[in-house]
Amino acid sequence: MSKNEVISPETVEETYQHDVSVKVRAVDEPSPEPEVGLKDGITRRRFLFTTGVVGAGALLVGQGVLAFALPNKVIAYPTSKGALLVDTKKCANCMSCMLACSSVHAGKASFSKSRIQIIFNPFSTYPDGARQAQCHQCHNPKCVAACPTGANHVDTKNGNVRTVDARKCIGCQKCIEACPFETSRVQWDHDLKASQKCDLCVTSKYWSEKGGPEGKHACEEVCPMHAIHYSEKLPDVDGVEGYETNLRKDDEWKALGFPMGDKGEFTSEQLGAMRAAAAAAAAAAAEAAE
């Protein structure tokens, strides 16, 4: 599967709607070989395509807890309870999120150890040039699938967040390479010599707040633009950037003059209001001229 190929969101949503009954690899359960989804020359997408959504769903229901003992040993994973979404069209590029992330996880402020990366070209024009790289807890986590030791795993005790147990990481970096996005959402901690990734602040030990899916998330809390948002609805996957999310839709942001459109443009409603104001001024001028 090339990086540019994506699983259609509809398919994913439908397929995993019964994920509660899926058998998964838990935190302390080493993954048996071979259980990796993408190793045997068949991609998740191809599997879905060839077996069909209905077939997969039926299989789920029919197999109960042992669901997804599928051809080529493709393993399905339970959906994460939620993920952190970033609206790069709202982001001010202050990188508070990055520093907060490394601060609460590592106890040190660092760009390199941040599990969210804001990649910004200061010579770009809005809305281009700003990207975010933060794990959005894929339905089908290729990083988990790529891990030969179970270090990169689904944490069933913490809302199925995809995370790395550094103690089990052997440093092969396969999970980093497997991440399908333009900048890997899994990072290499060169001091620990282990991979790491967004764990929804489950391990945010340098903070008085409790993290995890039910708790608080450092990046979300510090963001002065409120451009990061924890969502129980996982994002629609869309291209290599992953997804678009629009956190500018409330009246406060409109009042602050933010472009409200999904792509960072003014909406027709906003442009209409501007045009109406201009037309009113022109009409007043015409009236005055008479």
Partner: protein, 708 residues
């Protein structure tokens, strides 16, 4: 013990073509930024009286323990110091400061700061990759504009980096050498700096400029094109849990901690003109908010833009220009003419701003030049064949970005009028034979030490006095918003200001320790401005900013927080927020007053250096028009300066424009201030004062030079 410091400062001797390490430990007692910078300048500069462009001048580029951390609005500033070619009549030792991400990146590379000495034989740039530092040839970079320079350095670094994995790359061979997704943070000069114009600034990214002082020319004089730094390390602090908690606590007192509360909803959405809608400084929204301000056409999308770890994000990113982060004078220097030429400021203003940033010119210099040149043309003395003979199309192209293109070209080539514009402001006015006349009338509104008039010394005296007692336009907005802008704008618009003068004075009186308990410090009446109360306000301001803003590098656009709409009694966070942040990082357990005292110490240290450079009481004069022309821009327009006054036993907001300063009373005020600071009648810190501050060695130096 983790304390926010990286432990080493980089010394670069360009004459010797070598780099070395200074242990930060010796300098920690100065805090960071300006404090350490002054101490380093003292130690590293063989003669503190050298001119700005002398190879012996030393430039310090300093971070603070807070840099690179999540300290709110206190992480992304970098302090630059050295002797200033822009200053008049002496190249005073000065400071400048810029935002962005340079400070954080320098610390992630393992450095608390950089000291640059000497002069390279050939144009060069400094390449810092973690602890690996090299002085590189600037061949192929010298001559590029500031944007091109940064992009070229990024390209060269990527070419020579280690290996990349899925969007990440390492700085050296080997996967455990630290990896990153970032390009280096670069501080560079443009073509104007290469030709040593005092109008040249340092530029980082698009619009982070270290403008005042002329450090672009200082870099140029050292044959130094740029400093590039990339780091993959981290900043370790004493108590991260406290720091995180403090940040979130502090955010609650900003608008962004309240954006969805009923109070802010009212501010944002309720009827304009109500007190609730008239936000105060700490509460203000990110970016420009709605509407076509600064010439952003209303239908051009733009969003806020912040320096590292900011909570306010006061700047802006645009869809119609690459001049990201520009704000205020970055646009204002051109927007007025653009509006006159086209009905409203627009694309020409953006294009002009980008040209200015690319060339690396201090926008404040252009803010003086453009209207002044046009006035001279109108006066009939500037133009082809005129007394000031130039083909600069100042009138024909007024408001067109092409005018700036031509002007910059002339400055770069130093031809036609460009050979004069290339000088410092005062030297320019002298070279064209207009200085005496126009600084007397105020047409040439360069009010103090060769720097453009910013807030007027005749009305907002704490700004003018602070500048006069120092070395440059202070550019510190601690009081300005509340004593001038909000009341003036409200009353000019026919509205009641959102607070009374008495309420503001009482809050100031509670917060400004150790000078608290005196509301009259903000009495801007004709008597109040010459009082001992005003001396206390100026002293508080000098000491506060020297430590908290310029040394620990709390951003001016967020601190001090004296008056805050979200807190009970409108009492701001200053006094509590600064030590909480500092102590979480350094574990020094210092009090607010400890910081104020260190600020006083650094201020006296700087003052002593100016005295060694020749400062006397007699030199401390504003430009002549300040004493002879009523307060107004250019000496003639009526400016609605509405300020708090206490007269007849009553507080009020009163129009004080039209005021000119009384020379004798200013002299009298200076003596009150000198006395309060413990300085001689000639303005030199006494031995007693210096020894009380543990600055005996400074007293010795002053005595040796006959100043004590």
């Amino acid at each position: 013990m983790a304390d926010g410091y990286m432990g080493k400062i980089l010394r670069v001797d360009l004459t010797k073509n070598e780099v070395s390490i200074i242990d930060t430990e010796k300098y920690k007692k100065w805090g960071g930024g300006n404090g350490i910078g002054t101490a380093l300048f003292w130690d590293e500069c063989e003669d503190v009286t050298v001119d700005g462009l002398d190879p012996r001048n030393v430039v310090t580029i300093m971070t603070s323990p807070l840099s690179g951390t999540i300290a709110p609005a206190a992480s992304g500033r970098t302090e630059v110091q050295g002797n200033a070619p822009q200053a008049y009549p002496v190249n005073w030792f000065t400071r400048s400061n810029f935002g962005g991400r340079f400070s954080g990146m320098l610390k992630f590379a393992g450095w608390d700061g950089i000291v640059i000495k000497g002069k390279a034989k050939e144009p060069c740039w400094l390449d810092i990759r973690n602890d690996k530092v090299t002085i590189q040839s600037a061949k192929g970079i010298w001559g590029l504009d500031t944007f091109e320079t940064q992009e070229e350095i990024w390209r060269r670094l990527r070419e020579t980096s280690g290996y990349s994995t899925n969007g990440w790359y390492t700085l050296e061979k080997g996967r455990d050498t630290g990896n990153t997704t970032f390009d280096p943070a670069v501080l560079t000069i443009g073509p104007i700096g290469e030709t040593l114009s005092p109008a040249a600034c340092l530029i980082h990214e698009a619009a982070n400029g270290s403008g005042q002082g002329g450090f672009g020319a200082v870099f140029g004089s050292k044959n130094l094109k740029a400093v590039s730094v990339i780091g993959t390390g981290e900043v370790d602090v004493a108590n991260m849990t406290d720091l995180m908690d403090t940040r979130l606590w502090m955010q609650k007192s900003t608008m962004m901690g309240n954006y969805n509360t009923p109070q802010t909803q009212e501010m944002l959405l309720a009827a304009p003109g109500t007190a609730a809608n008239s936000l105060f400084k700490m509460s203000s929204a990110p970016g420009n908010g709605a509407g076509p301000v600064f010439g952003v056409p209303q239908d051009v999308p733009s969003v806020p833009y912040g320096c590292l770890a900011c909570v306010r994000c006061c700047r802006r990113r645009f869809s119609n220009s690459k001049t990201n982060g520009s704000t205020c004078v970055d646009f204002a220097f051109f927007g007025g003419g653009d509006a006159e030429a086209h009905g409203a400021a627009g694309q020409d203003t953006f294009d002009a701003s980008e040209m200015m940033q690319r060339a690396g010119i201090n926008d404040y210099v252009l803010l003086v030049y453009l209207p002044y040149l046009r006035a001279l043309a109108k006066l009939g003395v500037l133009g082809p064949g005129k007394q000031i003979d130039t083909d600069l199309p100042i009138e024909e192209e007024w408001g067109e970005s092409n005018l700036l293109r031509i002007l910059i070209d002339k400055m770069e080539k130093q031809e036609d009028i460009g050979k004069y514009l290339h000088m410092s402001l005062v030297d320019f006015a002298k070279a064209i034979g207009r200085y005496e006349e126009d600084s007397a009338s105020g047409l040439f509104n360069v009010q103090y030490w060769g720097y453009p008039q910013h807030y007027d010394a005749r009305t907002e005296v704490e700004w003018g006095y602070g500048t006069l007692m120092g070395d440059r336009d202070i550019n510190e907005h601690d009081f300005n918003d509340y004593i001038y802008w909000t009341p003036s704008l409200s009353i000019v618009s026919g509205l009641e200001p959102p607070y009374t003068a008495e309420e503001y004075a009482n809050v100031v009186s509670k917060v400004i320790k150790p000078y608290d308990g005196d509301p009259l410090v903000v009495d801007y009446s004709d008597e109040g401005i010459y009082s001992e109360h005003m001396a206390k306000l100026v002293a508080w301001h000098r000491h506060y900013t020297r430590y908290y803003k310029q040394s620990m590098q709390f951003c001016d656009w967020c601190y001090s927080d004296i008056f805050n709409p979200y807190n009970e009694g409108h009492i701001g966070l200053t006094g509590e927020v600064e030590p909480r942040i500092i102590n979480a990082i350094t574990n020094k357990n210092e009090s607010f007053l400890d910081g104020m005292e260190l600020g006083r110490k650094i201020w006296n240290f700087d003052r002593a250096i100016w005295c060694l450079q020749g400062r006397t009481c007699e030199m401390e004069k504003f430009a002549p028009y300040t004493y002879t022309q009523p307060a107004a821009v250019g000496g003639e327009a009526t400016v609605p300066y509405i300020m708090p006054t206490f007269e007849g036993g009553k507080w009020d907001f009163r129009m004080v424009s039209g005021r000119m300063l009384d020379d004798a009373k200013v002299e009298d005020w200076k003596q009150k201030y000198y006395k309060l600071e413990g300085w001689t009648t000639d303005g030199v810190p006494t031995r007693e004062t210096l020894e009380e501050l543990d600055l005996n060695f400074v007293a010795d130096a002053l005595e040796k030079e006959g100043r004590l």
